[in-house]
Amino acid sequence: MTVIGWFQIILYCAIVVALTKPLGWYMTRVFGGERTLLSPVLRPIETGIYWISGVDEKREQHWLTYTVAMLLFHVGGFLIIYGLMRLQAVLPFNPAGQSAVAEDLSFNTAISFITNTNWQNYGGESTLSYLVQMLGLTHQNFLSAATGIALAVALIRGFSRASMRTVGNFWVDVTRTTLYVLLPICVVYTLFLVSQGIPQTLGDYVEATTLEGARQTIAVGPVASQVAIKMLGTNGGGFFNVNAAHPFENPTALSNFVQMLSIFALGAALTNVFGRMVGNQRQGWAILAVMGVLFVAGVAVTYWAEANGTSTLHALGLTGGNMEGKEVRFGIVASSLFAVITTAASCGAVNAMHDSFTALGGMVPLINMQLGEIIVGGVGAGLYGMLLFVVLSIFVAGLMVGRTPEYVGKKIEAREVKMAMLAILVLPLMYLGWTAVGVVYPAAVASMANAGPHGFTEVLYAFTSATGNNGSAFAGLTGNTFFYNLTLASAMFVGRFFMIVPAMAIAGSLAAKKSVPPSAGTFPTTGGLFVGLVVGVILIIGGLTFFPALALGPIVEHLAMNAGQVF
């Protein structure tokens, strides 16, 4: 570890915190339907969309209607992606002549993108036409991100409203998020990325003759426009197979730094939106503080482990850390930082190969996802995931003092706690259950690229990432098989919607409750004690759930490595 390395990490955190307040201010105005700087341009488009689709923006929805609207929207998104992938061979914008994508891979990819996972069983440049990349993947990058934000806002309304039957209008929330938040940022962001060297062209793959006279086919395409939204929307599905490690997806140290910022920007800002909407910004900062504690701890472990290297490297006298699967322009620190950010948020873009990380360095991304990606988290999903843990923590605190727990003026009762537990328990059921199948079913075992405990970790990582809607991978695992295409799709589906529906049920139930003014007996939820309590609950629940699985994978691998064992 170096001073310059830590300086980059601290600067990163400082900029994220600095962006939280202004972005939170702007987004709160957008969700409140107020005028913004961009309204003169975007308002006519917005009203036009409502007009043709028959949406009355004044009419709000019950939580159940809101949820059904969201589900219908996803059915449509699924059909668009699946159809485009199956038909890409006969559709335009296909200069590389890609053939139709197989049924199981198309199914997996469609589920992957509507759930904001963006797991890549496909290999970007070797599988997909430009049309699929744009009309299929780029569009769903926007809409799955907008959906996540809309749901988080609906849950916040549950906390901020009193005695109401409705939580907002899904169509309006999605449209406004897309038009006023995601699209304007992406336009500027895309141009910045192109200036750094990311291609944005509809031209053919380039045929080059190298200095030594060999032929090199260089894949290009409309890359920058997709990279912008895949980062900002914490989607993470790459244009290319190796995602943000590809020099065309992340060409410079600056592009890398800005990409890391854009993963956290909206998720962090939503904590401020929460604070503003419940009438006390300090409530938002407290949540961000919980996230910050867990984040910095994760960065420290991964950075230390990667800088330290492996026994294999030490035995050969190689110093400078574990550079297998990392790019020179990012080095140890930017690769480690990126890995922790991308799994803390549910982004899943990678700028280094997590499969080649040290055992402990690769364990932190795994833990981040198993905690439910609540450390800033996916846009929207991170906040509602964190609020579920807050509900539990408040409940635990209430038990300790023997009072009905309250949070931001709402009594937390049996229904909320049950729903929060349901959402939190369904995730381990998916990733531990499927991992158990994956390590005994012969066709699944054949997909492992590494032997020994590392092979187990590959499988555990895959199902954890899918369930958490992350999308990063221990990419040695051959995921494009019938078994993994279907099981991973089921994990992504359950991980997304079995978390959303309980969260929305909580939103509906909270919105209907009266607001109680704080009294002397109210547990203050803006101070250090609250932050410590939530961190504790997260680690205890998380630790009890997945520690045994980690012991079989990364922990035993670390011990084996120190003993000089290879597999």
């Binding site: 970007g124 990058n141 169509w171 944005q200 380039v206 197979n241 930017a334 190969m353 032997a451 990419a475």
Partner: protein
Amino acid sequence: MLREIRPAIVLLLALTAITGLAYPLAMTGIAGALFPVQAQGSLIERDGKVIGSALIGQAFKDDKYFHGRPSATLAPDPNDSTKTVPAPYNAANSGGSNLGPTSRALADRLKEDVDKLRRENPNASVPVDLVTTSASGLDPDISPEAAQFQVPRVAKARNLPDGQVRQLVDANTEGRLLGFLGEPRVNVLALNLALDRIAAK
């Protein structure tokens, strides 16, 4: 609930058209006008022919060129399309080795490469990036240490004094942005092009 069906179709199609077609196509037009070189892939031409991209590494084997990092990219086997064969720096199919820290295959590969490099230059310690595969398999850069390590071999193959080649490496070394962001690096293709320009003089 039935009245949610119409927006589920129409609003979805409208937003799809905006974000999936209008946005990427408009960006293609604007970016192409503002940054024509980058938008096409930062291609480098010599004598009117495209010889590669400034951002994409190439496979160098010849002693008279600086070599990049090992690359784990693959290509379909010409004899059996269900299999793949190693194809270093295949820019149409990026990929890493994905070998883990306790992989025997990785340990064996590292040992072989380190031994080879020690024979080539016994006077310097082997830089780690010169024996580890990059994440993309297309890393255009090596560390300044990895470039300096190769100077004796390149100088000998080109009959140039060590000092002159070392100067060229220094001139092609990029530092950290603003002194702290990123890592120092040498673009291998740019360095080799500079070498060829000296030879041409």
